[in-house]
């Protein structure tokens, strides 16, 4: 070829081109068929698979939180409400990685505390659905909302969201009776049905709010929505409305609760009042209290440490968790144990010289009576009325620990018998075997003596004492102490109806107390009436001009031990070493409507401090008397 000049051969060049064009077109057809068969593969053979992916893409389930049930007192006063509150939330997906910067910007506009930030970071780390916003700060003021909305354009992904939060209009008054809700944490989420709580921010942390959490919470709703790739809802396909939580009505009598709280102002004290006919708790007060509203959206460190470090222990629920030696208030049960077990006859009398010595005690240890000179010759009625220790020492020595703790057990001591107070503790009822286990020691006769006057190992809570008063009032018929009256429904006409909860699986009611001789109830109750109405009763001051007859028992529990041969001198003791003042009672005698236990820490004497409080609470409940109008003496009896 080279060496010769080539000329253009046009027909040949054209033929070459045409051949190659045909080949090219065939290749194009092959390639197009390849594309088409790829499309056929995707669209026909794999159609089902991709259709379901596409549906999953666009359809999301958005949970909707149910409205929490409201709580009412026994007459229908709203005591736990839901109110709108505004929160600022962060949507991480819209921030393009500028999260820290934007949060800092928000922090310049509104106040965000270190604790808010800490919690925000914790929440951010939790598992969440894409495009689920994370709370940064709650309870925005109107001003803060305005400031934020002015700066909205600079803050992508920052939103102000409305939420219903729990509000306790009576704050401190009911906190120990009702508990409170707070923001749900990871641990709590694990213990509930996570699906049902997928939209919920709050959970009952204490008390009624915790115990009836399931009923108050309700059932989560679901909205089946079509969303775009950025998670924005475009269309609602299906809507399952959330079922609001049940409203509940408590047996708490709000005015009585408020009056009781006022009576205890300045004291570390507790009062529990029960309706003996139903077991419904009328008042449950523990002072000092605290404001539950602080806890709802998260309490600040400062507030919390102030509460925690207060020497008066406001966070401590004395009514349910305060273990006190019941002192002489237990004597009604000791007396019942003595006579009903047949250990002593009901006519048993003892001469009281001011002390008691166990007959075969080598050391001749003296068990003192609270009254130095003694009460002389004492029968059961006077023993109760005067709270004569020696009669009980003698009776207890003859009854023995087994009988005493058997009867005390029937009255619910040493166990939790209440229904819906999750914080209630069993406290302690000592037995022979318990002492062996606990101290590796035998039960000494002296222990029985102490037990019978409510000292020593025996510990009871105010709730347990009120329960024992209720059982005495009911003559052994158990009504389970509970706060719930029923689930509250209001029909269209505005009629309120209460439905009773299903009690299955809940704390069972103990069996009624069957005495060998039911007349023994009268013997003991007569003694308790004599405490208030008898000429020599320790609380006779209460009985004067009382329009109804009440049965009660005072008690004074030692805080510090008094050595053999020493005297208790109130004036010489600091307040915190003074005796606890206790009182249990029920009234009216023939048709008991209220049973009550009062414990005033370091209050001095049961008759001087605790009994008048109980009387005022009863007056308020039975007679509708406002104690602020009346002056009651507090002199030592």
């Amino acid at each position: 070829m080279s060496g010769y000049a080539r000329f253009k051969d046009h027909p040949e060049e054209r033929r070459t081109f045409q051949l190659r064009a045909v080949i090219a077109f065939l290749l194009v057809l092959v390639a197009m068929s390849a594309l088409l068969s790829r499309m056929y593969f995707l669209q026909v053979l794999e159609n089902e698979r991709y259709s379901s992916i596409s549906d999953k893409n666009r359809i999301q389930l958005k949970p909707e939180k149910p409205t929490r049930g409201l709580i009412f007192d026994r007459s229908g006063v709203l005591i736990a409400d839901n109110k709108p509150s505004y929160n600022v939330t962060i949507l991480k997906e819209e921030m393009d990685g500028n999260l820290d910067q934007i949060v800092a910007q928000v922090g310049e506009i509104i106040e965000i505390s270190k604790r808010d930030l800490e919690r925000f970071n914790k929440r951010l780390k939790r598992r969440r659905r894409p495009y689920e916003s994370v709370l940064l700060r709650s309870r925005l003021s109107v001003e803060e909302i305005a400031k934020l909305s002015v700066n909205y354009h600079r803050l992508p992904g920052v939103r102000v969201e409305a939420d219903l939060i729990r509000v306790y209009p009576y704050g401190e008054t009911l906190v120990h009776a009702m508990g409170y809700v707070g923001r749900i944490n990871e641990k709590e989420l694990k213990n509930v049905d996570e699906r049902n709580y997928s939209a919920t921010n709050y959970i009952g942390k204490l008390g009624i709010e915790k115990y009836y959490e399931q009923e108050l919470h309700g059932t989560v709703g679901m909205r089946k929505v079509e969303t775009n790739a950025r998670g924005r809802v475009m269309r609602v396909l299906e809507n399952i409305e959330p079922i609001p939580g049940k409203d509940i009505q408590l047996s708490i009598d709000l005015p009585l609760q408020q009056i009781t709280e006022k009576l205890l102002v300045g004291e570390k004290a507790s009062v529990v009042a029960i309706d003996p006919q139903t077991g419904g708790i009328l008042a449950l007060v523990s002072t000092p209290g605290y404001d539950p509203n602080l806890f709802v959206t998260g309490i600040s460190n400062k507030d919390y440490s102030a509460l925690r470090e207060s020497p008066d222990l406001p966070l401590f629920n004395r009514a349910l968790r305060g273990g006190y030696p019941p002192g002489s208030t237990i004597k009604a049960i000791s007396a019942l144990a003595a006579i009903d077990s047949g250990s002593v006859p009901e006519t048993h009398t003892v001469f009281d010289p001011g002390f008691y010595i166990i007959a075969d005690d080598r050391y001749k240890r003296k068990y003192r009576d609270w009254k130095r000179g003694g009460h002389g010759t004492v029968g059961i009625n006077l023993a109760l009325a005067q709270s004569c220790d020696v009669w009980f020492y003698d009776a207890a020595h003859k009854t023995g620990v087994d009988n005493i703790s058997y009867y005390m057990d029937m009255f619910g001591l040493g166990k939790v018998t209440s229904l819906d107070m999750p914080e209630a503790i069993p406290a302690l009822l000592p037995t022979k075997s318990w002492k062996k286990r606990r101290y590796k020691q035998a039960w000494y006769p002296g222990d029985s003596l102490n037990l019978s006057i409510g000292q020593g190992y025996l510990v009871a809570t105010p709730l347990q004492l009120a329960t024992s008063a209720m059982l005495l009032a009911n003559r052994g018929v158990w009504k389970q102490p509970k706060l719930l009256m029923g689930y509250r429904d209001v029909d269209e006409q505005g009629n309120v109806s209460l439905t009773q909860p299903d009690m299955q699986g809940r704390n069972p009611v103990p069996e009624n107390i069957q005495l060998k001789n039911p007349k023994h109830w009268d013997v003991v109750i007569d003694g308790m009436v004599a405490v208030v109405h008898g000429k020599r009763g320790t609380a006779r001051k209460l009985g004067k001009e009382s329009p109804y007859i009440m049965a009660g028992k005072t008690g004074t529990a030692q805080v510090v031990g008094i050595k053999q041969g020493e005297r208790y001198d109130k004036s010489k003791l600091k307040k915190k070493f003074q005796d606890h003042a206790l009182f249990i009672a029920f009234a009216p005698l023939d048709d008991p409507k209220i049973a009550i236990a009062v414990v005033v820490e370091n209050g001095g004497g049961g008759s001087s401090t605790a009994a008048p409080i109980a009387k005022k609470v009863m007056d308020a409940y039975l007679l509708g008397v406002d104690p602020e109008q009346q002056e009651w003496g507090g002199e030592v009896l």
């Binding site: 080539r6 051969d9 046009h10 064009a21 090219a24 499309m39 995707l42 159609n47």
Partner: protein, 384 residues
Amino acid sequence: MGRRSIVTKDFSRSMQNSSSHLRSKPSLWSYTHLDGPLLVLLLLLCAFGLFVLYSASAQDSGYVLRQAIRMGIGLLAMIFIAQISPMFLERWAPWVYALGILLLIGVLLFGVGAKGAQRWLALPGFRIQPSEIIKVILPLTVAYCLAGRPLPPTFKQCALALILIALPTGLIMKQPDLGTSLVIASSGVFVLLFSGVRWRYIFLALGSAAACLPLLWMFMKDYQKQRVMTFLDPESDPLGSGWNIIQSKTAIGSGGFSGKGWLEGTQSQLNFLPESHTDFIIAVLAEEQGLIGVSALIGLYSLIIARGLWMASQISDSFGRLVCGSIVLTFFVFIFVNIGMVSGILPVVGLPLPLMSYGGTSIVTLLMGFGVIMSVHTHRNVVI
């Protein structure tokens, strides 16, 4: 060299076609220098494109209007170019090519752009994208270089043509713009193939190209490597770079045989499909019109290619044939790479779907290419 080749060609052309124009009276089409069937097919394609774009742009008639204006500009450019004699194009091609190369170097030195790529040259008042100029001019230049001598080209001519191709390809790859450099390289290579390069050279070149693939890998930018990796295993990064391909496959697959209906595609209407109105528009069509719609589009494209190749083979002079053949096959490359990418059989390369994807320059340059075909085809009988 230029002058001599033109003389030879003019002479032979007038000889060969001296009687053909006397056989038939000039029709309307030859008077307007347009090709009727091709024009109708292109108009059909434009209409189809606007129809799909309305849905793909979230029913934004603004997009449709702007696209229609671009198509109008493109069609006007096509008609204008069809009036230009191929002689004129042939004469100016090398100079425009030289200018294009200078501008490309300018882009590398002073270019502006986005997302790590420099593609534009900012001149006072407006911005130009020199790679688009090269796209149009490269096949003309290579054809000019080859067609002046007897075909098939000698080894020397081939080497010269390959240098002419490699220069802009390399420069554009450096921008980096893999898709465009691929298109430009192939448009030049098509000229070579049509010129009658011996099969044994072609297979040799294919073999060595395959051997050079690892070298190419070394020169690729990280994001380009990422695309290839994602292509090989899209599930490895379903929310990152695999997202596009997973979503487009889902859109296509869920469309089924007859589609979800116009404006009813959930993948596209709810924004799961990225770039739904630009590079991934075929997925919208596939989702809403199903396999039927896709087949119609591919059929339409095939007809255009068939008509283009037929027109090319009717041309009597080598320069025109080579240019036309290259333009038609380049058109095909756009289609194949785009649909292959969206349906997941090719890696993600940013190439628009001709006359369907939203975007200005590609529509105008493509229609200008068809203008060149019409020009060459209708000017075949003209003797200068």
